[in-house]
Amino acid sequence: MKYLSLVIANLRRNRLRSVLTAGAIMLAVVLVCLLLTLPAGLDAIVENASSNTRISVHNKAGIVYSMPASFVRKVRQVDGVAAAVATTWFGGAYEEAGRVTFPNFAVEVEHIGAVYPDYAIKPEQLADFRRYRDGAIVGRQIMRKYRWKIGDRVTLRSTVWPVDLDFRIVGEIADEDSPYFWMNNEYLDQALKAQGGAGLGITGMIWVRAGDPSRVNSIMRTIDELSRNSEAETACETEKSFFSNMFGSLQGFITIMIIVTALVALCIVFIAANTASMAVRERACEIAVLKAIGFDRRVIFATLLTETAALSIAAGSAGVLLAVAITRALRMFSGWSEALGPLGAFAVSAPVVFQGLALSVLVGLLAGIVPAYAAARRPVVETLHEVF
């Protein structure tokens, strides 16, 4: 550690170069963090947002195919089912004329709370949801994006149903990343009937909570059996499997993003290595003098490597912090993106922070190793010969 002052003094030697290198590394690490949020976002949804007791029940042919609304009653009778709720895609557009910017569903208000206890919706909010027919429960991501508060009134124009509906926000899902908007399905049913139609006789998706994770498989088999040979044969899958499949088609895109991230990371290594080799080259004589005085090769190697690594770690850490700050700001504007779904949220999670820091360390070591080793190994006389 007594050599630390030497390392720092050397970094201050060419301030402009150190600043430029640090700047480049920092910016590249910011970029890498932002890019890494995409695959990380996918993992987060599939791993974290999915409960291991929830099952999705949908028509085997596709989620745009429906099931009869009465089917949910049969599902609730199945042994092991703690709660089940029927949901239907409302496809409502808010302001942006004709574009759905967050997923919104019509749900059975009596049962939704029991199926999603992990969403920790306040009991009084759930009570209001049951009490007020035009009530809505909204995830925090959307509340933040449109600056809604509990008590606000919003209008959604459905893109799939021939209705526009007014809602009163009565509760929120406390998760910062939750993009959902839930409304009362009886409200939709009434509105459809008011138009002279038959009402909401169908449901798009039934969500089930199993009382015990070990019962999940048998529950899924039973439900599928119930619907076999009926008009709407079902396919059950766990919540994790559902999301995994839903975003599975983004896998190709994510692969490209990871490749691009790797390219940028390689950039950083090259930039740092270039600086390291320039610095070492210019100081060849000094290093020779140090070796002549008696500093052995290991010390020389270590101090040179530390120089590169210290710069890289400092710059990389700053980059990670900056990435976190940027995404905090971005969250005001982004969120659910049409092309990427929830990946548009750019959430810099703990794994991303860790990966960013690890990259900084790795870059410093990789970039510095070759120049440091070469300089340490070079015989003193070789350098002196060249000069004298």
């Binding site: 402009l16 170069r17 430029l20 290198t21 700047g23 480049a24 910016l27 590249a28 910011v30 970029l31 932002l34 085997k60 042919a61 596709g62 989620i63 745009v64 195919y65 557009a93 004709g98 574009r99 759905v100 997923p103 459905s158 893109t159 799939v160 021939p162 008009e231 499949n245 839903m246 975003f247 599975g248 088609s249 983004l250 896998q251 190709g252 895109f253 692969t255 490209i256 993003m257 490749i259 691009v260 390219l263 940028v264 390689l266 950039c267 090259f270 930039i271 290595a273 270039n274 600086t275 080799s277 320039m278 210019e282 659910w336 993106s337 049409e338 092309a339 990427l340 779904g341 548009g344």
Partner: protein, 392 residues
């Protein structure tokens, strides 16, 4: 008197190792940007190419895409006889009633995607005149047959000519392959509209209607007539406008390219600056000599800027080559790439780095070189001959 380009070139060669390293940094940024641009522009192209300016898309009022819309038989029958719709050689109106459904398809590797299945009548080929059946033949009504788009081919289990694909409630025989010059129709599967309505148990047989107008003035006239019809709540828009809106959502991905271009570009610029500053330092005596000989400040400035630009050009050339090669390799390894998880439809594209994508990357590379070289070139030009010679 300006310094010749050979001076620039020889200097780069003299410090070949460092030049290559710096050029490689720029090359990497070029590859990264080109790949992404290739991907996103491929996606955008599928939409841009999909609209026929003389076609109208008719949907239920308030729907944002034809998968969400419904249209009744009565509405269709009414519109059919409107004035202004083009007619074919046999005097039949060029109006195509269609039903759009997005069922699950199983992919080759066991995944699951929502594919846009379009129920059509034979007239659809005439209305969507970019679409051509290039292998096999068009499907026959009531025969449970399907025609699949070129991008769908091979991606899903059974999606081959002569095979059967499974979706909805049954299996459908693939009798033809359609191509549309890269338009989004190539990601679709076409079947008979009545059979699809049966299979999907839709109360409304159609989701919308596409029609060809006879003259451009008919476009606005018909649009207004359909929009204002009090009997049915319908909306008409030019097909080009319809697909332009879809393209906008893909356009938001350009944000990623911008992020890379800005952040990585600045980083690479800093790296280039570093190299150039070191070059200026090492050649202080040389610069002093040149100035003493009579070369102006501007000549020195230009010479160093030229070196920086030459570096970034070399970087671009390396990067462009690598980008094309890498994209071919990835395309071969990954096959088609899917988009559109949130809109219940999958658009399938192939990664391709085109000339226009490379043009964007070239601009970026040049910018990096010019900006990165500015500081060092300025410093070199400001060196006074005496100081420069004394330092040596």
């Amino acid at each position: 008197m300006a310094l010749p380009l050979s001076y620039t070139w020889r200097n780069l060669q003299a410090r070949a190792g460092r030049s290559i390293m710096t050029a490689s940094v720029i090359a990497l940024v070029v590859v990264a940007c080109s790949l992404l641009l290739g991907l996103i522009s491929a996606l955008q192209r599928t939409f841009v190419l999909s609209g026929n300016p003389m076609n109208l898309v008719v949907m239920r009022k308030g729907s944002d895409n034809d998968g969400a819309s419904q249209l009744s038989v009565q509405a269709y029958q009414a519109i059919r006889f409107f004035d202004g719709i083009a007619r074919d050689a046999a005097d039949r109106p060029l109006i195509s009633p269609e039903l759009v459904v997005q069922p699950f398809f199983r992919t080759r590797d066991g995944g699951r995607e929502n594919v846009l299945v379009r129920g059509v009548e034979p007239v659809a080929l005439a209305v969507h005149d970019q679409v051509r059946i290039t292998q096999g033949r068009m499907l026959r009504p009531s025969a449970h047959e399907a025609v699949v788009g070129r991008a769908v081919l091979g991606r899903y289990a059974g999606a081959e000519l002569g095979n059967e694909i499974a979706f909805g409630q049954g299996k459908w025989k693939v009798v033809g392959i359609l191509e549309a010059g890269g338009a989004s129709f190539e990601s679709e599967v076409w079947v008979d509209v009545r059979e699809l309505a049966n299979d999907a148990k839709r109360p409304f047989p159609y989701s919308g209607v596409r029609l060809r107008v006879a003259t451009p003035t008919d476009l606005t006239r018909l649009k207004r007539r359909i929009d204002d019809d009090p009997r049915y709540a319908l909306e008409a828009q030019p097909e080009t406008e319809y697909y332009a809106k879809q393209a906008k959502s893909a356009g938001s991905l350009y944000v990623l390219v911008a992020a890379i271009a800005v952040l990585a570009g600045i980083g690479a610029g800093f790296g280039a600056s570093n190299t150039m500053y070191a070059a200026v330092q090492a050649r202080t005596a040389e610069i002093g000599t040149l100035r003493a000989l009579g070369f102006s400040r501007r000549a020195i400035l230009s010479a160093f800027e030229a070196e920086a630009v030459a570096l970034s050009t070399v970087g671009f050339i390396i990067g462009a080559g690598a980008a094309v090669g890498l994209s071919r390799l990835l395309d071969w390894l990954m096959g088609s790439i899917a988009f559109g998880a949130a809109t219940f439809t999958t658009n399938v594209v192939r990664l391709n780095v085109s000339l226009s994508d490379l043009l964007g990357a070239l601009l970026l590379a040049l910018l990096i070189g010019i900006c990165g070289g500015l500081g060092p070139a300025w410093r070199a030009a400001r060196l006074r001959p005496i100081e420069a010679l004394r330092k040596a």
